[in-house]
C-alpha cells in the first residue's frame, strides 16, 4: 500500500541558519504519527514543507505517492491541514467560512451544503454554525478550524498544535474526535506541546530537536532506549537552579532540568536507590518538599534525547 506520507532528507535554510536539517519520516496509511519537539525545533517549518506552503532547499515530500514539489495542487488535494493559527474570517459565520473553503477546494455545489452540515456535526457546532466566528470561544474556533480541514474528505490529516488556547472541555472533545477519525482509518500527523495528547492519539512518535529527527519509533521502542533509567520529579523550596546544578554532578544522573519555580526533573539510572544521594547533594540549596519516581515513559525519553523539556 502507498504510504500516506514520506519525506526524505528535508532541508530548509534561512541565511546561515539551518532550521530543518535532513528531516525524514514516513506515515503509513491509517497510521497516527506524532511529531514532538521543543519550541523552535523546526516542527512548523517542516509541516509548511509537507503541505506545500514552503519549498524545501533539499529533499522530497510524497503524499499518497504524489511528489509535492512536482504536482503541488494534486498533493494538496489529499491533505487536510489544520494550522496553528485560527485561519477563519472572524466577521463571517462558521457556515460561511466553510462555504469559502468548500469553493476553494472545489466541492461540488450540490454537495456543499450537506457536507458543511456533516462537518459541523462532526465537531459539535451544528447549533452555532450561523454565528460569527468572532463571537466564538477559543475551543469553538479550534473546532471550526478542524472542520475546515475535514470538509474535502482528505486522506491525511495534519494537525499543528490543535489544542493551543483551548479550554479543557474542548480539548477533550477535540482529542475524542481525532481518535475517532484515526479509528475510521484516517492517516494523521499530529504535533503538540502536550506529551499526554501525543501518547494518547499516536501509535508512532518522532522526536525533533534543533531541526533534526533524533528518534523515531513506537512509544515502547523509545522508552526501551532508556534502559533502567527512571524519571525523578523533585519539588523544593529554594534556589532551583543551584540545586539542579548540584544534582547534575551526582553519579548516575544523566539529565537535570528546571521545570518550574520549585521543580526539577532528573533522569537517574536506578532512581530509587540513588534517592538518599540526591537529597544529600541538594544540601543548602533548598528544602525538598516532594519526591516522585516515575517508571520510564515518553516524557523521560524526550528528556533523554533532547536534554530539555517540552514546555520551557
Amino acid at each position: 500500500m502507498t504510504p500516506a506520507l514520506v519525506c526524505e532528507r528535508l532541508v530548509k535554510r534561512y541565511g546561515d541558519k539551518t532550521v530543518v536539517d535532513r528531516v525524514g519520516f514516513h506515515i503509513d496509511e491509517g497510521e497516527a504519527y506524532g511529531l514532538l519537539g521543543p519550541n523552535g525545533a523546526g516542527k512548523t517549518t517542516t509541516i509548511s514543507m509537507l503541505v506545500g506552503l514552503l519549498r524545501p532547499d533539499e529533499g522530497t515530500v510524497r503524499v499518497g505517492g504524489i511528489d509535492v514539489g512536482e504536482d503541488p495542487v494534486a498533493a494538496k488535494r489529499l491533505i487536510g491541514y489544520v494550522p496553528q493559527e485560527i485561519a477563519l474570517y472572524p466577521e463571517l459565520t462558521a457556515r460561511e467560512n466553510l462555504r469559502y473553503f468548500g469553493r476553494l477546494y472545489g466541492l461540488p455545489r450540490r454537495e456543499l451544503t450537506s457536507r458543511i452540515g456533516e462537518v459541523l456535526d462532526l465537531v459539535g457546532l451544528t447549533d452555532r454554525g450561523d454565528d460569527k466566528v468572532g463571537t466564538y470561544s477559543g475551543g469553538m474556533k479550534r473546532r471550526t478550524n478542524i472542520a475546515v480541514a475535514l470538509l474535502h474528505r482528505p486522506r491525511l490529516l495534519i494537525l499543528d498544535e490543535p489544542t493551543v488556547g483551548v479550554d479543557p472541555q474542548s480539548r477533550v472533545a477535540i482529542l475524542d474526535r481525532v481518535e475517532a477519525l484515526v479509528g475510521e482509518g484516517m492517516s494523521l500527523l499530529y504535533t503538540s506541546h502536550y506529551m499526554e495528547e501525543v501518547e494518547r492519539v499516536c501509535t508512532r512518535v518522532g522526536i525533533i530537536d534543533r531541526g533534526r529527527v533524533v528518534a523515531d519509533g513506537t512509544k515502547r521502542e523509545l522508552v526501551a532506549e532508556l534502559g533502567g533509567t527512571d524519571r525523578v520529579e523533585l519539588t523544593l523550596d529554594g534556589d532551583v537552579t543551584a540545586a539542579a546544578e548540584k544534582l547534575r554532578a551526582v553519579e548516575g544522573v544523566s539529565e537535570s532540568v528546571v521545570t518550574g519555580s520549585s521543580s526539577i526533573r532528573l533522569l537517574v539510572a536506578g532512581g530509587r536507590h540513588l534517592l538518599p544521594a540526591l537529597l544529600a547533594a541538594i544540601g543548602d540549596a533548598g528544602a525538598v518538599t516532594g519526591v516522585e519516581v516515575v517508571e520510564p515513559d515518553l516524557e523521560a525519553a524526550f528528556l533523554h534525547l533532547t536534554g530539555s523539556t517540552l514546555r520551557d
Binding site: 495542487v73 494538496k76 473553503f101 469553493r103 472545489g106
Partner: protein
C-alpha cells in the same frame, strides 16, 4: 472537484465588506453627503440661481450702454448698477457679488473685479467675456463697414442686420443646450467619484492586511490552488468594491442630482481604468502595511492629497499652475479631465483618447508593481 478560488475569494471578501458597517457608511452615505454640500456650495443648480454681477458704467456712452444691454440680456446673470469701482470691489470681497465690471468711457480696457478662488466668479467671468465679446464684434464690424466706404447710417444698418441673423443662430444653439447646462453637481459628482473610489479602495485594503495577519492567505494557499489564483482573487475582490463604489455614485447622482455623465462607453472605460489603478494602490497597501489599523490611517490621507492635486476637492484652476502640473503626475487629474470632457453633449471615447491612454499606462504600472510586491511580501513568506 474543480477548485473555484476566484469565486470563493470574491464572494467571501464582498460578504466581509458588507458586514463592515463603518466601511459601508463611507461607501454608501459619505459620497452623497459630500456631493450634495459641495455641489450646493459651487452653485448648485445654476439654472435657477443667477450669478449676481454689478456694473459701473456711464450709459450715455454708446459702447458702455451696449455692454450693459448685453449683460442684462444674459439669463445666467443678475445685473445691477453700481456707483463706484470701490463699491464693486467691496461687494465682491464680501461675496455679495460673483464679479463686477468697471467700464470707463473712451477707454478700451475694461476692469473686471473678481476673487481668484470662487467658482461662481469663474462662471460670471465667462458670461461677461461673452457679452463684451459681442459688443467688441459689433464695434469691429461697424469700423470695417466704414472703412469699406459705407456711411455711418449704412454701416449701422448692415451691422444690425448681421447681428439679427447671428442672434437667430445663437438662440437656436443655446436653446438646444438648455437641458444639459452643467450644474454645480456636474463638477462635484465626478470629482467625488474619483475621490471616494480611491480613498475607499485604500481603506478596504485593511481587510487584506487582516487576511494576511490571521493566516488566512497562508491557509488558502494550502488548498489545491495556485499562488497566482489567490493573488488574482484578492485583486479581483478589491476591483469589485471599487467598481461598485463608482457605479453607485454614477447611478445615484444621475437620479438624485440629474448629473449627465455622457457617453456610457467612454465613462465606462475611464472609470474602469481608474478602478484598476485604485485596485493596484489597495494591493500595495495590503502588501506593505503590517497591521490592519494602519491601512485606514494611511489610505485616506494619501487619497485626499491626490484628490486635492487632481481637482477632486476644488476646481484645479483655483490651485494655481504649479500644483496643477504636479497633479498630472497622478491619475486623478487625468480621470477628472476625461470625465469633464465626456460630460459635454457630443463627446465620446474618441475625445478622451490621450487621457484614456495615460490612465491605461498608469494602471499597468501600478498593478504590475503591486502584484510583484504582493507576491514577494505576502505570498512568498508564508
Amino acid at each position: 472537484m474543480r477548485p473555484r478560488p476566484l469565486t470563493a475569494l470574491v464572494l467571501a471578501n464582498l460578504q466581509r465588506q458588507l458586514r463592515d458597517k463603518v466601511g459601508m457608511f463611507f461607501i454608501v452615505v459619505m459620497p452623497f453627503v459630500t456631493i450634495l454640500f459641495v455641489g450646493m456650495a459651487l452653485g448648485g443648480d445654476a439654472a435657477d440661481a443667477k450669478l449676481p454681477v454689478a456694473v459701473v458704467a456711464d450709459t450715455s456712452d454708446p459702447v458702455s450702454a451696449a455692454v450693459v444691454a448685453e449683460l442684462e440680456s444674459d439669463k445666467a446673470l443678475q445685473v445691477r448698477r453700481a456707483e463706484s469701482a470701490q463699491e464693486v470691489r467691496d461687494d465682491v470681497r464680501r461675496g455679495e457679488l460673483a464679479a463686477g465690471l468697471v467700464v470707463t468711457p473712451g477707454d478700451t480696457d475694461l476692469e473686471l473685479v473678481m476673487t481668484q478662488t470662487s467658482g461662481s466668479g469663474m462662471a460670471a467671468r465667462s458670461e461677461i467675456d461673452v457679452a463684451v465679446g459681442r459688443v467688441a464684434a459689433v464695434l469691429e464690424a461697424t469700423r470695417a463697414a466704414r472703412a469699406a466706404g459705407a456711411s455711418p447710417e449704412q454701416a449701422e444698418q448692415y451691422v444690425r442686420k448681421a447681428k439679427e441673423e447671428s442672434v437667430a443662430v445663437t438662440v437656436a444653439s443655446t436653446g438646444g443646450d438648455e437641458p444639459s447646462r452643467p450644474t454645480g453637481f456636474a463638477y462635484t459628482a465626478p470629482a467625488n467619484l474619483l475621490l471616494f473610489t480611491f480613498v475607499n479602495s485604500m481603506a478596504v485594503a485593511a481587510a487584506l492586511v487582516e487576511s494576511r495577519r490571521i493566516g488566512m492567505v497562508r491557509r488558502s494557499l494550502a488548498a489545491p490552488v495556485r499562488r497566482s489564483q489567490v493573488l488574482l482573487g484578492e485583486a479581483l475582490s478589491r476591483f469589485a468594491v471599487a467598481l461598485a463604489q463608482s457605479l453607485l455614485i454614477i447611478v445615484v447622482s444621475r437620479l438624485l442630482f440629474d448629473v449627465r455623465w455622457g457617453d456610457p462607453l467612454g465613462v465606462g472605460v475611464v472609470v474602469a481604468l481608474f478602478c484598476l489603478i485604485a485596485t493596484g494602490a489597495a494591493m500595495l497597501v495590503g502588501a506593505l502595511v503590517r497591521s490592519p489599523q494602519q491601512a485606514p490611517a494611511i489610505g485616506p490621507p494619501v487619497g485626499i492629497v491626490l484628490g486635492m492635486l487632481g481637482g477632486c476637492l476644488w476646481p484645479r484652476e483655483v490651485a494655481g499652475e504649479t500644483l496643477g502640473t504636479i497633479g498630472y503626475l497622478f491619475p486623478h487629474s487625468w480621470a477628472m479631465d476625461a470625465l469633464l470632457t465626456l460630460s459635454r453633449p457630443s463627446a465620446g471615447l474618441g475625445s478622451v483618447l490621450v487621457e484614456t491612454g495615460v490612465l491605461a499606462g498608469m494602471a499597468v504600472v501600478v498593478l504590475g508593481v503591486a502584484m510583484v510586491v504582493f507576491q514577494r511580501r505576502a505570498l512568498a513568506t508564508v
